[in-house]
C-alpha cells in the first residue's frame, strides 16, 4: 500500500465482541447498527439464520455469527446489536453480535496474515489486526455471509 500523506491510511474496522474474542468488520460493508429486535423465524432456513426483521419497511435476514462459527447460542443482552451489512444495493444481511465496541483504523503493517495452523478452513478471516494490546480477528465478511456450498 502506498504511504500517502492522506489522513486515512489503512482501513477502518468496527470492533465487535463475540464471547471473549474481538472481531473487526470492514466499515465499508456496514450499513447500519441497530438494537436487538423481534426476529421472525423463517422455517427450513439454514440453522444459523435466526429469521428476518423489519428495518424501516425493508425485510432483512438476520444470521447468528455464533451459530455459523459453531459457538454456543447467542445470549441476548442489552448490549446485543444487529449489524446490517450491505454489499450492493438490495442485498442486506444482519448479523448478531454480543457488543459493538469501537471503530479502529488499522494500517496494513498492523495486520498479519492468517497462519494456516490456526485452522481457518472456511476462509472466514482476512487476517489479524493488532491494536494496542488487543488482537482483532478481521472478518472476511463476504465469505461469512455467502454460503459456499449448500449441504
Amino acid at each position: 500500500m502506498e504511504a500517502n500523506s492522506n489522513i486515512i491510511d489503512g482501513k477502518q474496522y468496527i470492533v465487535v465482541k463475540l464471547g471473549n474474542e474481538q472481531y473487526g468488520i470492514d466499515i465499508n460493508f456496514v450499513d447500519n447498527i441497530v438494537r436487538m429486535q423481534r426476529i421472525t423465524r423463517v422455517p427450513k432456513a439454514q440453522h444459523y439464520f435466526k429469521g428476518v426483521i423489519n428495518l424501516r419497511g425493508e425485510i432483512i435476514p438476520v444470521m447468528s455469527i455464533r451459530l455459523k462459527f459453531g459457538l454456543e447460542e447467542d445470549q441476548i443482552t442489552n448490549a446485543t446489536r444487529i449489524i446490517i451489512i450491505k454489499f450492493d444495493a438490495g442485498s442486506a444481511v444482519g448479523i448478531i453480535v454480543d457488543e459493538v465496541k469501537e471503530v479502529v483504523t488499522l494500517e496494513e503493517s498492523n495486520i498479519s496474515r492468517i497462519n494456516s495452523e490456526l485452522g481457518d478452513k472456511n476462509g472466514f478471516l482476512n487476517g489479524i489486526g493488532k491494536h494496542g494490546d488487543d488482537l482483532i480477528s478481521l472478518l472476511n465478511i463476504s465469505s461469512v455471509i455467502i454460503e459456499k456450498e449448500t449441504n
Binding site: P43, K44, I59, I146
Partner: protein
C-alpha cells in the same frame, strides 16, 4: 440538437416497425402476391429508414433503404417475391434487430455494415429487374465532401463542384500516374421512380472504372434521393471519356451523360467562388440537418458521436385512459383524506364514530382500486413476447426440415412487465424443444397416421391469481420407461426409487440438472435440454412448471406464473404464535373438520370433502412450529388448489383477509422455497408468505 431524448421513442417505434415487418414477411412467405402486405412492408421499411436517418444511424438507414428499394420494385410490379428474397429479408431483419439492441445498450448502432446482406439485396434487385451486375458490388463508402449549391440551367454542372485542396492534390497525383479526372453530370429520366437506385447503379459502374472522389450533391443525399434529375461526380480513372460515358449509359433510365475533363483552370475558378458560397452553404447545410439528419452526424463520423452512454430506461406505454382512471382515483383519495380531516376537527360525538368508519371504508375502497389500476398500468399483454415466435418456428422448420405450424392463443393475456421481460427465453426454449425433439420427422408422422404437418400450441390464459402458459405439441410424447432407464443407468435414481416412481415423478426427472446434458437426451425421447434452466428461471419469477405427456400423442408443458408481483390479497393465519399469509388466489374454501373426518390412505391423512379426497398437510409440522399442548377436536383446514390438484392445510387460527405488500426475504436465506416472501403487518411485525404451490 440533442437526440438522446428521442432515443426511447425511437427504440419503441423501431421495435414496433420491426415486429410489423416480421409479421408481414411471414404472411408474404405464404402469400407472395399479397399487395397489402407488400405495401405494409414497404411502409414499415420506409418509416424505419426515416427514423434511423433522423437519429443518425447511417448503417441502419442504408440497410432499410435497400430493403425499401426492393419492395418499391415489387410494389410497382417490376419483380416478384421469391423464397430467396424472403430469406434475405429475414436476415436483414435480424441485422436491424442487432443494430437496435446495440443502440439500446450504448446508443450506438455498432460498426457492422452487413455488406453481405446489402449485396444480396442488390443482387436480387438487379436480377429481378433483369440486369447483369458487376462482380464488384462493393458499396461506396461515404466520404463527406462539402456541400456546394447546385447551379441550374447548365449542362456542365460538374464545373460547379468545388474542388478542395486535398482533392486537388489527388487530381494532380492522378494525372501524374496517367489517370484522368473527369467531371460527369448524369441526367436521369423524368419518369424514373427510384432515382437513388439509379444513382447507386451509376456509382457502382463508376467505381468499377476508377475512383469517385466527389459528388454533388453528396453521396448521402443522393442515396436519400435529395436531388432533382441530375447529379454530378468527379471521377479519377484511366479509361477514356467515351468508355466512361458508355458505362453510365448502360444503366437504364439514364437520359444523358455529360463528361468533361477537369483541369487546373476550373478548379481555380471553383476556389474563387468558394468564398461567396460559404454562407449559402451553411444555410443549406442547416436546412438539411433539420429535415433529415441529426446534427453532428453529417460529418460522416459515426463513432465520434455520443461517447456518453445513456442507458435507456425501460418504459411502459400506458393508455391515456388508464392514466385518467389513476388521476380520478388520486382525487378520490384526496377527498377521502379531507373527509377524515374534517371529522377529526369537528367535536367528537356519537355521530362522528359512524362517520369515521364510513370514511375508513371509503378510503379502503379507493386504495384497493388504486392498487388495481396501478397494477393494470404495469400489465403488458403477453403478445409482446409471443409475437416473435412465429418467425422462430418458421426458421426452425426450415432448419430441421420438418413441417410444423405454431398456433398461439390468448396473446391478450396480461402479465406484469417484469415477468414479461423474463419469460421470453424459457418459452423459446420450450418451443424449440417441442419443434426439435417433440415433433417427429414428417416421414414418421405419416407412418403413424398423423397429419404430416406437426402442430405446436402456445396457449395463455388466466387462472385465478395465476397466469398459465401451456406449450403443447402433438409429437411423440415422452417415453417414461426410457427416461426411467436412463436415470437408472446414470445413477440419478436407485432401482427401488424407480419401482415406486409415478409417471409424474419420472417426468419431473427431466427438470433435474443432470438430465440436461446432451448425450442423455437424444437417446431418450429428446427432452430435457436445459429444462432445469427453464425451471430455475420460472421459479425465480415465483412460478412453477410441470410437464404432462402421453406417449404417441404429444406432451404439454404448463407454466404457472403469479399475476402480480407486488401486492396481493392474502389470508392471514396463525400457527402457534407465528403468523403466516396464504395468497388468496390459491385458496378454494375454508373448512371445519373434526378429527373423525380424517381418514388414512397410504398412511397419509386425507379428508373426503364433497366427494373428492384431499390430502391433509399439517402446516405446523412442515414449518417446524412448536407443538401445541392440547389437540382440539375441530381442525381449521384451508383448501388450496394448484391447477386441478387440491390440498388441505391444517392451521390453528384464522386471522382474516388482508392486502399485503410482498417483499423479498433476500437471496441468502435458503428455505426450500416454502416461503415465497415476507410482508410487514400494520404493527410492524413481519409475517411470512407461504408459497402453497410448493406444498401441493
Amino acid at each position: 440538437m440533442d437526440i438522446s431524448q428521442y432515443l426511447e421513442i425511437f427504440i419503441d417505434e423501431t421495435k414496433e416497425h420491426l415486429q410489423s415487418l416480421s409479421d408481414q414477411l411471414l404472411i408474404l412467405e405464404t402469400e407472395p402476391e399479397n399487395v397489402e402486405t407488400i405495401n405494409e412492408i414497404f411502409r414499415a421499411a420506409h418509416s424505419l429508414k426515416g427514423m434511423a436517418g433522423t437519429m443518425g444511424y447511417k448503417r441502419m438507414q442504408r440497410l432499410t433503404h435497400d430493403m425499401e428499394n426492393v419492395f418499391s420494385e415489387i410494389r410497382n410490379g417490376n419483380m416478384k417475391v421469391t423464397a430467396n428474397l424472403v430469406d434475405v429479408l429475414f436476415k436483414g431483419l435480424d441485422a436491424l434487430e442487432t443494430y437496435l439492441s446495440n443502440i439500446q445498450e450504448s446508443s450506438d448502432e455498432g460498426t457492422n455494415d452487413y455488406e453481405d446482406i446489402i449485396k444480396q439485396l442488390n443482387n436480387i434487385l438487379n436480377i429481378g429487374l433483369g440486369k447483369a451486375i458487376d462482380e464488384d458490388t462493393k458499396v461506396l463508402e461515404v466520404e463527406k465532401p462539402e456541400l456546394v449549391l447546385p447551379t441550374s440551367g447548365e449542362e456542365l454542372k460538374f464545373t460547379s463542384i468545388k474542388i478542395l485542396d486535398y482533392e486537388k492534390k489527388a487530381i494532380n497525383k492522378a494525372y501524374e500516374i496517367g489517370m484522368y479526372a473527369y467531371g460527369i453530370t448524369v441526367y436521369i429520366q423524368e419518369y424514373c421512380i427510384l432515382k437513388s437506385a439509379r444513382a447507386f447503379l451509376v456509382f457502382k459502374a463508376l467505381e468499377s472504372l476508377g475512383e469517385v472522389i466527389k459528388s454533388l450533391p453528396d453521396t448521402q443525399d443522393i442515396e436519400d434521393e435529395k436531388f432533382d434529375l441530375d447529379f454530378s461526380v468527379v471521377l479519377l480513372t484511366k479509361e477514356s471519356m467515351e468508355k466512361v460515358k458508355d458505362e453510365i449509359m448502360k444503366v437504364s433510365e439514364v437520359k444523358n451523360v455529360v463528361v468533361g475533363k477537369i483541369d487546373d483552370t476550373n478548379t481555380e475558378e471553383a476556389a474563387e467562388e468558394e468564398e461567396s458560397k460559404i454562407t449559402e452553404e451553411q444555410e443549406l447545410d442547416s436546412s438539411i440537418t433539420s429535415t433529415a439528419k441529426a446534427s453532428g452526424t453529417s460529418s460522416g463520423n459515426n463513432t465520434s458521436k455520443q461517447s456518453a452512454k445513456p442507458v435507456v430506461n425501460r418504459s411502459v406505454r400506458v393508455d391515456i385512459e388508464k392514466l385518467d382512471i389513476l388521476m380520478n382515483l388520486v382525487s378520490e383519495l384526496i377527498i377521502a383524506k379531507n373527509g377524515l380531516v374534517s371529522i377529526s376537527t369537528t367535536d367528537s360525538s356519537n355521530k362522528n364514530e359512524s362517520g369515521f368508519n364510513e370514511q375508513i371504508e371509503y378510503l379502503e375502497r379507493v386504495t384497493t382500486n388504486l392498487h388495481e389500476s396501478v397494477m393494470k398500468v404495469r400489465m403488458v399483454p403477453i403478445e409482446s413476447v409471443t409475437n416473435r415466435f412465429p418467425r422462430m418456428i418458421r426458421d426452425l422448420s426450415k432448419k430441421l426440415n420438418k413441417k410444423m405450424e405454431l398456433y398461439i392463443s390468448g396473446e391478450e393475456t396480461e402479465l406484469d412487465r417484469t415477468v414479461i421481460d423474463e419469460i421470453g427465453d424459457p418459452l423459446m426454449h420450450l418451443l424449440r424443444n417441442a419443434a426439435d425433439h417433440g415433433l417427429e420427422s414428417n416421414a414418421e408422422r405419416i407412418a403413424t397416421d398423423k397429419p404430416e404437418v406437426g402442430s405446436i400450441y402456445l396457449e395463455a390464459y388466466q387462472d385465478g391469481n395465476n397466469v398459465v402458459i401451456e406449450v403443447r405439441d402433438d409429437g411423440a410424447g415422452i417415453n417414461v420407461e426410457k427416461v426411467k432407464k436412463k436415470a437408472l443407468s446414470n445413477g440419478s435414481i436407485t432401482q427401488e426409487q424407480a419401482d415406486s416412481m409415478s409417471e409424474k415423478d419420472v417426468i419431473d426427472l427431466l427438470f433435474r440438472p443432470s438430465f440436461s446434458t446432451a448425450e442423455v437426451i437424444s437417446d431418450v425421447s429428446g427432452r430435457g435440454v436445459g429444462l432445469d434452466v427453464v425451471k430455475t428461471k420460472i421459479e425465480a419469477l415465483g412460478g412453477d412448471i410441470e410437464a404432462k405427456t402421453k406417449l404417441g400423442e404429444g406432451s404439454t408443458f404448463i407454466i404457472r406464473l403469479p399475476l402480480t408481483l407486488a401486492i396481493i390479497q392474502a389470508l392471514m393465519v396463525e400457527l402457534g404464535s407465528e403468523k403466516y399469509a396464504i395468497p388468496l388466489g390459491s385458496i378454494q374454501t375454508i373448512e371445519d373438520v373434526t378429527q373423525n373426518d380424517i381418514k388414512y390412505v397410504h398412511s397419509k391423512e386425507v379428508i373426503n370433502l364433497r366427494g373428492s379426497v384431499i390430502p391433509l398437510i399439517r402446516l405446523d409440522k412442515v414449518l417446524d412450529v412448536e407443538e401445541k399442548q392440547e389437540q382440539s377436536e375441530n381442525l381449521t383446514v384451508v383448501i388450496i388448489a394448484k391447477g386441478d390438484r387440491l390440498a388441505g392445510l391444517v392451521i390453528d387460527n384464522l386471522i382474516g383477509q388482508q392486502e399485503i405488500v410482498i417483499k423479498s426475504i433476500g437471496k441468502y436465506i435458503n428455505n426450500n422455497k416454502i416461503i415465497g416472501g415476507a410482508t410487514i403487518l400494520g404493527d410492524g411485525e413481519v409475517a411470512l408468505i407461504l408459497d402453497v404451490n410448493t406444498l401441493v
